[in-house]
Symmetry: D2
Subunit: 433 residues, 4 copies
């Protein structure tokens, strides 16, 4: 036991009237809803990177957090893991997630980095077993080290492609060994800064081949989890190849991967792409590629990934509404890709930021489920499209422009618009949020 | 002859030192470059809608332009066409483009609208023949009339889908009759305002089927031009289905249309999607779907389609650089989807806004061609990726993650980053612009 | 009685458990809070323009609403007023607001416009008296007519300045006659499109003199209400002179008006300026110029004024928190500068959009009052700045840099950062929303 | 002599036809224009921080630059200064600028930091004298160290205010000793992240008092340069107090400083505030507070300060047009607050990025001067406002609303709009750029 969180009690459910800062008011893991516990519906995961690896810097200032585990040794990496699992115990969520760079210090060579990762995999495996916390997903950090400044799979230098392949291989191995339920790829540096020095077609071809290799290796080692791609626009490269769900879908189709890869969708990335979170969720569901979510909140007026903890109930409820409509999570879950504001220095901030986020998510999920159970929203939607259920409308979809045109003229069809009722539907949502 | 442009002379090329406002300083249609005239390289087209149909309104104010042809009669439609062709004569560009709604008054029924379109098609055909101006493309306005407020092909009411089919059919017929070199679809209302009342999957399926019908009808009538889709994000619907080139590519793949449909790419739409114009051009070229361009300029800080005349030489040059690299225009061209600022009331503003745009485009095209001829930029690019030309690098693309990883460890590969030289390449561009 | 709202009952309070769409669930006008009724706290007003004068157009489509009072005659203006007051009766809010252009058809001359305004003033006065609805504020529309395309007070043509003066004079007269509690100026066209044709200094000087004239005329006629300026950035002019609260404050100081003019702050305008609504409210309060609010909601990703009905409880609560801290409303109130989405065609949409907005505002106001009563948020704030309450800290504010520097060195002061506790405070807010 | 820039020649002017990458094509320091050399018109300065202190990190990756002077010792600080002055010699610009944190390693106490600054001041002074490079301005870094995370002058902790006063004092002393022509304040952390924990009024009062202290100290020590404030919106604090020129003007008026302080205006900051660079320049000039510029370029689609080297001639020309109209620089100059892209690793990138920027600025300045000499733009502007030059128009400014209204009605004034001619003026600009 470290003493980093000393005096902070385990957070337990006390109900909505509790004023105890160290209690869940809405997240009751054991609460049953439609035959499944809230823990199993929400599948909360904590992100190792923001909580344990981020020093609190921003482009105008350096480290604000002073953590006893900051440093480059394996001893400190183990201390970090100890503290992490203490936080997991205090919060009681079922899952966590990592990049290799979060859990092990970088080695001088690929071989050393791999060996350190293997050592930490064993260490994390013991802690998982002891505590029951599971790995939602693993991923490789192919963006922080300067070798990746011009891309990983899309780097002009084939050696960087090779090096990246090496890292992803050992990350997939570690994920499988730790029973991870998914493996995630986020193309941090897969994009470009200026077209003047970029061969866009070649870079995309390399990115496509790299993703095929990942899928091939998954099958080779018999990894049963899902391969997930996480779209993100605008940063860190000005022009990111995995801009949003629709873009990645086209990419998967181009490289024959639409049956093998699903989406890990982040609220903040959706916002930066000009979409709502629920748009991205609905788009992925409609294309059959919905996988998992990164839950956070993005400042709408800051043009970068602010990764704040979610706190707006109506927004969270509408997102989970789409998750439930998509069938809920299977291998996926709710990963909190959220970080403390850099002024939130205290260990208690780290605990309570997550506790508040768990609460707003649980409340939002229950509100979404109640809206679906109520049925008024879905009934209004069905009624709006009811005309398309007729045999005549369905037949029309098999006809040609000229046939249809002839019928419109012959029947003198003149469609009369009907109210979209947006405000009334928004009022309806406010009955539940 | 109307007297709308009275006293305005035909614009002729006088060379860069001319201070005559009514002369081209850079656009010399007959100038030969790489064996082709500048007229044939640039293929300028004027947009009927902005120049002749737009009254100058904005969300806070109504009509500012007072044009003698504004009104709903066929006589006024013919007057409008007369003035339009006078402008085409004064400017001397080879092409123009229209929506049905620009050239004919709306009828009380589909049949009447069609019949009026046929009448105007004959009238325009005579004028084309007399003057030699050609049709770059036709398109249907499926967004202004209130019947389309909730979509055309994606409308919840199948009768609107049918009505839209009827309009597109007669627009394709008119385009073919007038020798149009392309037919364009822009999904103005194909998107949604609120997911609360929207069946996204159903709407996209209908949009896909509609586009298939257009392609089927093209083949049925033997139309030889290209079918082009014009991507646009953010407006008029908050969530537009044809967000950008990459999104539309995925859509085409989903509905098996990637071999049949190309892109009409607009500068302002690229900007609103968070991309540069040249990104969208390069993306389309890399996917084999580059078709044509809508040239304009968007205010970078206004979150809507400002459709200003292009006037920034370096930006225009970089766009044409991608066009030339994509092989130049075949059926496509440079359509000025640009409108006067609403305070630019005078006929002379309409002429000179286009003349200035022609000049900056010609200058940009020549700068782009000179950069390519110089070769330094392409040489730098080739050199940056030269590592990939080796047999070993190419072989790696056929291997698996584990093979590659083993080689990296065995050979102790540690890639050393090389400068991306962005500023030096930008300096190079400034030698030509 | 018109039959526009036939069969729609008056909306009454039924409590939070009501599922009656035609009931208030949170807005109980008679409910007492801190010695004042909710009606008097919130002072709801309905905007004539969005509800009765807006046809539903957007930049890509025309009118969608079909209202029997649309047209240019005085009879239709009276019908419009009849329907408006029926809506006010159904909703039961205490106030409304207008522009001259909303309530009377434009005349052929200033004299005719004035005379029509006087006639409508009498008509509205009778209706106010009969029903008890009051005027929160009047204002002049100096932006729709093409004569204002280049500005009103800032127009390059002094005749437009003069014409604007004439309109504002009769609007102030009408406001006073109808017992208006404020007079508002929004500088719709006071700004510029391109600096190339603009004399910024001269235009601002004219704007300053115009505002002085308004204040002088207020005193001349003995108008007892407040003069309010409404800041807005970005549109309709690209560069608006009244960008935000801080900008207008500098303008007022420049022209000696900071003691005479207060702010009417709109949520959507705050957003477009890159601020939060509560920032603008707090800024105005800190400068002693807080007046009134225009309540609505802006899409964060659309770069224009979307004027949606408010529906997000946490956002509304934080705004009212600042209003209450500023002392609450005196002459000001909560004006709903919100419009239906253009697909919301039905009379019932107009009623229920407002009813939902009243509810979310009442709920937000009560949540804000409860947070203040609870005191935890204010206690945390006071504690954070407690160091400044010491005599030494206060004395330092009277010293010079060198004195202070000497003390820091002498005492070896090395400040230790303390947590800003943002997430914990956000969790606290979520206890109330 | 270090060997950092070995083999890089001094950059000399060779004229526009030169293809030598290591030559100026447009910047000829000795070229006379309107009786003054281009060196004296442009007054170029190089920023110590971006060129010598920035390691190349971004929020997703660490250091990319490997500079032999990176580290925390005084020896390395001297090496850094040696290299810096070698770059100044190679480029030949007359000025440079620094923050204290750029030139000296942070001390363990304020006294140590001050003492190191004094030592480096002597060292820099010797180098200035030897080489003839002068100091355009000095400034204090009150944003990087974690003690400033919640503000410097606006910190909730009065000890941080005191510490900041100590730093500014020694920076002003150093600036004076080195003959600096201005002293700049940029309020990096003067703003707030969340209103929930912020006392906005108190913070602004402290910021006002702090600025007064700076002015008082300037007079106390007899510093003859200008005190400049640099506005910036959006970052690093979400809500920055010095948002833009108009905001700072109001602030200066509030604290009685408008006669003592001028503006240092940055292109990128203007863009982030929603303005054009030239808007901010014209606004400052109109308020009599124009001082100096930070020249760079901001990506219009990235919502943060990208600080790229300027490279767009038309934009640069329009900015200098306003500078010249404002009377040109007196104590101010053109400081390149621009940094290499993080992939531009090589010493030669640092040299050539600046050389290209000097060239585009010189070209832009000459274009601006030519436009003014031509006079057509100013003539068009004067003519547009000519109506205001009449005695009647001027008299109107002394009248009241009622007098003016009476005259409009009596004379039947009905203003007729005139074209704003924007596109024609843009064409005119393109004759010079």
């Amino acid at each position: 036991m470290t003493d980093f969180f000393k005096d902070i009690p385990e957070i337990a459910y006390e109900g909505p009237d509790s004023t105890n800062e160290f209690a869940y008011r809405h997240y009751n893991p054991a609460e049953m809803l439609n035959g499944k516990s809230m823990e199993d519906h929400l599948r909360f995961a904590i992100a190792y990177w923001h909580s344990f690896a981020w020093p609190g810097g921003d482009p105008f200032g350096g480290q604000t957090f002073e953590r006893p585990w900051f440093g480059d040794t394996m001893d400190l990496a183990r201390l970090k893991a100890d503290v992490a699992f203490e936080m997991f115990r205090i919060l009681g969520q079922p899952f966590y997630c990592w990049h290799d760079a979060d859990v092990r210090p970088e080695g001088a060579t690929l071989a050393e980095s791999r060996s350190r990762m293997e050592e930490m995999t064993d260490y994390l495996g013991q802690k998982q077993e002891a505590q029951g916390t599971r790995l939602l997903w693993g991923t490789a950090n192919l963006f922080t080290n300067r070798r990746f400044m011009a891309g990983a799979a899309t780097n002009p230098d084939p050696d960087v492609f090779a090096y990246s392949a090496g890292i992803v291989k050992y990350c997939m191995d570690a994920t499988q060994k730790l029973g991870g339920e998914n493996y995630v790829l986020w193309g941090g540096r897969e994009g470009y800064e200026t077209l003047l020095n970029t061969d866009l077609k070649r870079e995309r071809a390399h990115a496509g081949r790299f993703l095929q290799m990942v899928v091939e290796y998954k099958h080779k080692i018999g990894f049963k989890g899902a391969i997930l791609v996480e779209p993100k626009p605008q940063e860190p490269s000005k022009h990111q190849y995995d801009y949003d769900v629709a873009t990645v879908y086209g990419f998967l189709k181009e490289f024959g991967l639409e049956g093998e890869v699903k989406m890990n969708i982040e609220q903040g990335h959706a916002i930066l792409a000009g979409h709502s979170f629920e748009h991205e969720l609905a788009m992925a569901a409609s294309l059959g590629i919905f996988g998992s979510i990164d839950m956070n909140r993005n400042d709408y007026q800051s043009g970068w990934d602010t990764d704040q903890f979610p706190n707006n109930l109506p927004e969270v409820a509408l997102a989970y509404y789409e998750v439930i409509k998509a069938g809920g999570f299977t291998t996926g879950g709710t990963n909190f890709d959220a970080k403390l504001r850099r002024q939130s220095l205290d260990p208690v901030d780290l605990i309570l930021a997550h506790a508040g986020a768990f609460d707003v998510c649980a409340r939002g999920y229950k509100a979404a489920a109640a809206m679906l159970a109520d049925g008024a929203l879905e009934a209004a939607r069905a009624q709006r499209y009811a005309g398309w259920d007729s045999a005549e409308a369905q037949a029309m979809l098999g006809q040609g422009l000229d046939e249809i045109a002839a019928r419109v003229e012959a029947e003198g069809i003149e469609p009369e618009p009907r109210s979209g009722r947006q405000e009334r539907l928004e009022n309806l949502v406010n009955r539940f949020t």
